[in-house]
Amino acid sequence: MPITSKTFVRSTALLLLVGLLALIGIVGTSIWLTDRSQVYLDEVIEARIARRAAVDLRASLLDMETGQRGYLLTLDESYLEPYEAARPRVLEQVEALKRVLAPYEVAAAPLQQLEADVTFKLAEMDETITQARANDVNAAIARVRTDQGQEAMNGIMTFIDSLISAVDARLVEGVGNQRSTGEALRIVSIVGGLIILMVVAGAIWAVLSYTQELANARRAVEEANTSLEERVRERTSELGKANEEIQRFAYIVTHDLRAPLVNIMGFTAELETSVDEVKTYMEAQETAGDDPLASQARIAATEDLPEAISFIRAATRKMDGLINAILKISREGRRQLNPEPVELSEIAETSAAAVHHQVAESEGSIETDIRVGKLITDRLSLEQILGNMLDNAVKYQEPSRPLRVVIRARHVPGNRVHIEVEDNGRGIADADHERVFELFRRSGSQTSAGEGIGLAHVRTMVRSLGGDVTLTSSLGEGTTFIINLPRDSRAFLGRLGA
């Protein structure tokens, strides 16, 4: 049965709660039951004490009565020994009984009766013995025969017997209570134990099935990952092919564009040569009268034709430049990139040295702050990228202040590096931040010659290494180009080649 993480958390929490409740139940009941059995035990002990006191009292009274009777029969003092021995104990024993029974209000009235009976009995026995000692045995016997002492004794005995049987019943009840408490404790322990066992089993089952579920999910993710990578590889290779096709297309187109251009330029040159000859001739004929046709022809040969030709030449030269630029980029795209370990700081130094002369002219400086080690990338591309950036920095510096360029490189997460080229040049207007990377587009006042291919070329090269280039700039303050490259381009290049 599948288990989602939510149900897992819920069921585990529920099981833990149930287990906790069961445990609390067991502990609570145990404490309560132990308390109960303590109470029962106390009661039993109390009952035993009461029983003992009652039995002692009965024994003492019987001892005394036996002594009294023996003495009255024989008048032998030796029969009085048990009497004398028990006599002092009786009152103490009554007191003890009273103490034991003090908490029981029911026993208060019978106790009073008992005390009265005991007092009366003691008095009766003392009296008979005194009479016998005074040789008035008959009076003593007559006193006994009143049966008043007997009645008192019977009352005492009844009390003690009923007390003993009550205490015995109590003892039996106490033991019964104790047993049922123990039984209850056992049942609670068993039930609680079973619940805890079930909870543990449930928890184990939940954990196991959840782990199983996790393992399945991980396997599924791994499979998805593999197929995803496969798909990415396919797509990348398709893209690579499409890209290659486009570059091939550009290459062929530019080649085919060149052929007619050669004609235009060639025949323009021929035309120029011819026009030169005509012009020379016309100028030699300057003085040949004022025929309007002749002067028009002269103007055409000496001014209009050379002007037209110069425009044609300028236009074709421009077009030639553009075609060359496209050709260069497409050739760059077709070049086999060769990833190798490259020391970025070395390339930065070399590139800086290449423009050192121009920078020094305006008292500028180039600093490098390279904090990355070797990159695995195409050396030539990297040289061209940095070279282009520095050329641009020199070309578009702000003439009113000395040029400052800083080349920085840092590691960034994802096994990549950021190379920043910061200058204090004239900057690029916000609207042109993206445009400057487009082919044949330039930004700002066109103060220096250029075809507008440098940054397009840079972007093409950076992308072909698996990176990207962006810029931040504020007009009049400077520009920072940020090149983001993988530390190792092999994976990217390998994928394209696959």
């Binding site: 050669v262 004609n263 060639g266």
Partner: protein, 147 residues
Amino acid sequence: MNNARPVTIIMVEDDEGHARLIEKNIRRAGVANEIVPFANGTEALAYLLGPDGTGLVNKGRQLLVLLDLNLPDMTGIDILEKVKSNEHTRRSPVVVLTTTDDQREIQRCYDLGANVYITKPVDYEGFSNAIKQLGLFFSVMQIPETD
């Protein structure tokens, strides 16, 4: 040039303008040899190897072939291959004159026996100079007879 054995220049160039410019500049360099132009590969091959394709037709002539690689009906490489593999024409020098500067293409042409490979420079002065110098080169070079 040696008048006793006149060298014929076979120019295979589909672009008429280029053909004309080449001819003009060769003439400017003082080369007066006959130039036979062809605008496609089929006709050029028919002329070079004869209708039977054996090359016997040109036996005993001195031929120099100026070859463009981009032709409408075949590539110049096909012509180069046929000329260089024919026993009668294989010693004739072939100058490849084309817009392509692809390294593999250049290597391929030399592998097939091209004698000179020249990339047409796009700037006209360069082009014109190259042709003139080629013409000067023609005026002094010795061309073997086909056999």
